[in-house]
């Protein structure tokens, strides 16, 4: 297990390095440069030169890259072009907002998704199952942009039940979290339903019932434990998505000060340092979550553990 984790960490470091390199060059070789984007319309060529120097973009690309790696390895990712503050701080100031919204949406999606999924597998063709199937279809196909706008117009403007945008109270979470969790709910519902159906059909479930195990334990301990392996993959996929940018649209509509919006805006402003920090962060989170998933698998499935 330790060797395995070490291997994973090494791969992660390499991944981050590779991703960084790609991002570094893709940006710099792309059509737009940050100086032109940042300059006001009445800037003089002198201004442009100053800014180029200030951003360190006057040096040859190779030297920029080496400097960049050197600084990055020391934890210095440079200052955001746009905000003039350390990019690391800019990103991490905004991360809690995404994390909190993501956690709420995640918890909601997992609870509702699993509840509907499991229930409709246990009682196929019941009202819950039918409702779940319709919601899953809706959640899969309705664009969150449209849902967000409709929510705002209905619950915000017409009914005045919920605040439209910003943060502060728990009520502020309702609409964006709902909007965010729609797709994950659909995903988790569908998957947990189908894998639960498979599990409930299997012989070990019949055997458990033969032994007189109460239905609650049959479903959760015997069936769900087996069904959970594919479900966990999806759940963690949802989690990393929620923390890393599937939130962009929702953050934009609900003016949520999260990381997704920051990165989108930074990309358009060609604020390289911020985007680079984000990329490292993404890689880090994805790798960590994958590691966690692997550990959970091993925890759930002894066959993996004993290999």
């Amino acid at each position: 297990m330790q060797g395995y984790i070490l291997k994973r960490v090494l791969i992660a470091v390499f991944t981050i390095f590779a991703v960084l390199t790609v991002v570094f060059f893709v940006f710099r070789l792309g059509p737009a440069d940050p100086v032109s984007v940042m300059l006001p319309p009445n800037a003089t060529p002198q201004d442009a030169e100053n800014l180029t120097k200030k951003f360190g973009l006057d040096q040859p690309l190779g030297i920029q890259y080496v400097n960049y790696l050197k600084n990055a390895s020391q934890g210095d990712f440079g200052a955001s072009f746009r905000f003039g503050e350390p990019a690391l701080r800019v990103v991490f100031e905004r991360f809690p907002a995404t994390l909190k919204l993501g956690m709420v949406a995640f918890t909601v999606s997992v609870i509702i998704g699993l509840a509907i999924g499991i229930y409709s597998a246990v009682k196929p063709d019941s009202i819950v199952d039918r409702f779940g199937r319709v919601t899953a279809l809706a959640g899969m196909s309705l664009p969150s942009f449209w849902v967000g706008v409709m929510l705002i117009l209905f619950f915000g403007v017409t009914m005045r039940w919920l605040p439209i945008a910003g943060r502060g109270t728990l009520l502020h979470y309702v609409m964006p979290a709902f909007c965010l969790s729609l797709y994950p709910i659909a995903l988790i519902t569908r998957l947990s339903r189908s894998s639960m159906l498979d599990a409930l059909k299997s012989d070990y479930v019949v055997m458990a019932r033969i032994k007189g195990v109460p239905e609650f334990y049959v479903i959760l301990l015997h069936a769900f434990k087996n069904a959970s392996i594919p479900v966990i993959t999806v759940i963690f996929g949802v989690l990393s998505g929620l923390m890393l940018g599937s939130t962009v649209v929702v953050e934009y509509i609900f003016s949520w000060p999260g990381i997704g919006r920051l990165v989108m805006e930074s990309y358009f402003a060609r604020d390289y340092p911020v985007v680079q920090v984000f990329v490292i962060f993404v890689t880090f989170v994805v790798v960590t979550l994958n590691l966690i998933v692997d550990i959970i698998y091993a925890y759930i499935d002894p066959r993996i553990r004993y290999q």
Binding site: P31, N42, Q46, G84, E93, M103, I253, S255
Partner: protein, 522 residues
């Protein structure tokens, strides 16, 4: 069998802790004494010394006072920190006398040293300030005493007033706390004091009690009946307006004409307009893509072939005015008599006379910078096709377009739709975009190049207002003769507010001016 349940509880607790240990915001000021203004972008800095974007100016100026400010009702320039200006040596020197009694939020008095410090720092290239280039006109600032200083210009500089808006920062405070701290918590002498900035969320400012702390002649009396002013970033237009409707925002600017109808149905929203605001849209012809774009007849064909009034009526829904020259209504040199009436026959004749080969596709580029750009581009394509052009539309991302522009990249296409916020004084714009030696000039080989360049430089140095206006008119004449493109229209500034507040736009200003003058009604 309790184990799975216990485990669930444990996981729940962990999630709960992550959720609440991460600090919940914020200085949540009581909403009754807070005025909330919605803007679509982030305030990228609150540090006057490092301003890079014009959109940051309105917020920064709330915290800082300037030597000169526009009068909130007339838009005319009046002294704020400066009590008087004296033009010496025919404009080469300007002597400024400061009001006594003005104070920074730290309590320190505003002195001539602070003024010099601010101007020097803004001109310092390493700060990347957007005024750095313009401030090159100043050779030196000489402090005579605490309340007197002299601006030395290299040469007489006619639009010197355009340099007088910088928000004066406290030198003492800056030296005490250093640039890092100053950046995150700046101190000025404006009507509002900085409280906090949360990137992606808002900038919160607090009214300074008893402001202004000194008498300003000719400036209407100010009292503020709110305590906090919160400038909130709401990127999405629909959301911002919905928040205005529900009262979550008190004031929103830059409302698009087609959005007005819905807002007007809401009796809690007041809509106001200003037709003096220089928000202008035009088409630039880009000669380096294809020399045919320098053909005067081609340009005239486009100018006559576009029905500007129809664009104003159809797309702006009447909220604007057709424009025929490269100057806004608010600008020196604007001449209401210049017009290219829509005339299809004339346009076709000009096109025939031009060297344009029928059927050659011309690329027309637009970005999201111009409101309703796709619609407008499509409409212009129609007009030009009717004249006999073949037009291919191309949408670019703003950053890409900006870079192409700077590098004179052919991929920018033959023409480009663009918007500029204009200014009151055309000087900087003329020198940057029209002077044939400028990096930004789209047309550098005009037939009357030498005469034109000379006029531009001359107007910079002409201190006599009437004579200068005449020079600028001559420049405009040449411009309207040259094939630089077609100016289309100016768009009204439409702004809306909840019935809780009242606010009136200062004429001639492009960004939210004098936000501190919002009044709470009830």
């Amino acid at each position: 069998m309790l184990r799975p349940v216990l485990r669930l509880c444990f996981i729940g607790t962990v999630i709960f802790m992550i959720f609440f240990i991460v600090p919940v915001s914020t200085v949540s000021a009581a909403s009754d004494d807070t005025v909330r203004v919605g803007i679509p972008y982030d305030i990228s800095t609150v540090n006057m010394l490092e301003i890079k974007l014009g959109s940051d100016i309105p917020v920064v100026l709330l915290m800082h006072q300037s030597l000169l400010i526009p009068h909130p009702e007339t838009g005319e320039r009046i002294g704020a920190l400066a009590k008087s200006f004296e033009i010496l040596e025919n404009g080469k020197k300007i002597k400024v006398t400061l009001y006594q009694g003005a104070k920074f939020h730290t309590g320190d008095p505003v002195t001539a040293h602070d003024v010099k410090f601010t101007y020097d720092e803004c001109a310092n290239p390493s700060n990347g300030n957007l005024m750095a280039g313009a401030l090159d006109e100043i050779e030196e600032i000489e402090v005579k005493d605490d309340h007197t200083l002299i601006f030395h210009f290299w040469e007489a500089y006619a639009p010197w007033e355009e340099l007088m808006w910088l928000g004066i920062c406290s030198k003492k405070y800056y030296e005490k706390v250093g640039p890092e701290k100053f950046r995150s918590n700046p101190v000025g002498s404006g009507a509002l004091r900085f409280v906090e900035r949360r990137i992606g969320e808002h900038v919160l400012l607090e009214v300074v009690k008893g402001y202004p702390l000194y008498d300003v002649e000719g400036y209407p009396e100010e009292t503020y009946n709110y305590k906090y002013l919160k400038v909130i970033t709401v990127p999405d237009d629909m959301t911002r307006l919905a928040m205005l409707e529900t009262g979550e925002l008190d004031l929103v600017g830059r409302i698009q004409p087609h959005q007005v109808k819905r807002l007007k149905r809401n009796k809690h929203v007041t809509i106001k307009k200003s037709d003096q605001v220089p928000s202008l849209v035009g088409i630039a012809f880009l000669p380096y893509t294809d020399p045919v774009m320098m053909d005067r007849n081609l340009c005239l064909a486009a100018r006559y072939g576009i029905n500007r009034q129809e664009i104003v009526d159809k797309i702006l829904l009447g909220e604007g005015y057709p424009l025929y020259m490269y100057a806004s209504r608010a600008e020196l040199g604007y001449d209401p008599n210049v017009a290219y009436e829509y005339d299809l026959e004339k346009a076709r004749e000009f096109l025939k006379k031009s060297s344009y080969k029928k059927g050659t596709p011309l690329t027309f580029t637009y970005t999201s910078m111009v409101p309703n750009a796709p619609l407008i581009a499509a409409l212009i394509q129609q007009y030009l096709q009717r004249v006999g052009f073949t037009i291919k539309l191309q949408q670019l991302e703003e950053g890409t377009a900006a870079t192409y522009t700077r590098n004179r990249d052919k991929r920018l296409g033959h023409m480009r739709l663009y918007e500029w916020p204009g200014s009151r004084d055309p000087d900087l714009r003329l020198r940057l975009s029209s002077l044939s030696t400028s990096d930004y000039a789209t047309v550098t080989n005009r037939p009357r190049r030498e005469e034109y360049d000379k006029l531009i430089l001359a107007q910079t140095r002409e201190m006599d207002k009437a004579k200068r206006a005449d020079l600028i008119r001559q420049i405009q004449d040449i411009m309207s003769y040259d094939a630089i493109g077609a100016i289309l229209y100016g768009q009204n500034m439409i702004y809306g507010m909840s019935d809780r507040v009242d606010y009136t736009w200062t004429p001639k200003e492009a960004y939210f001016p004098h936000l501190q003058r919002i009044k709470i009604l009830k």
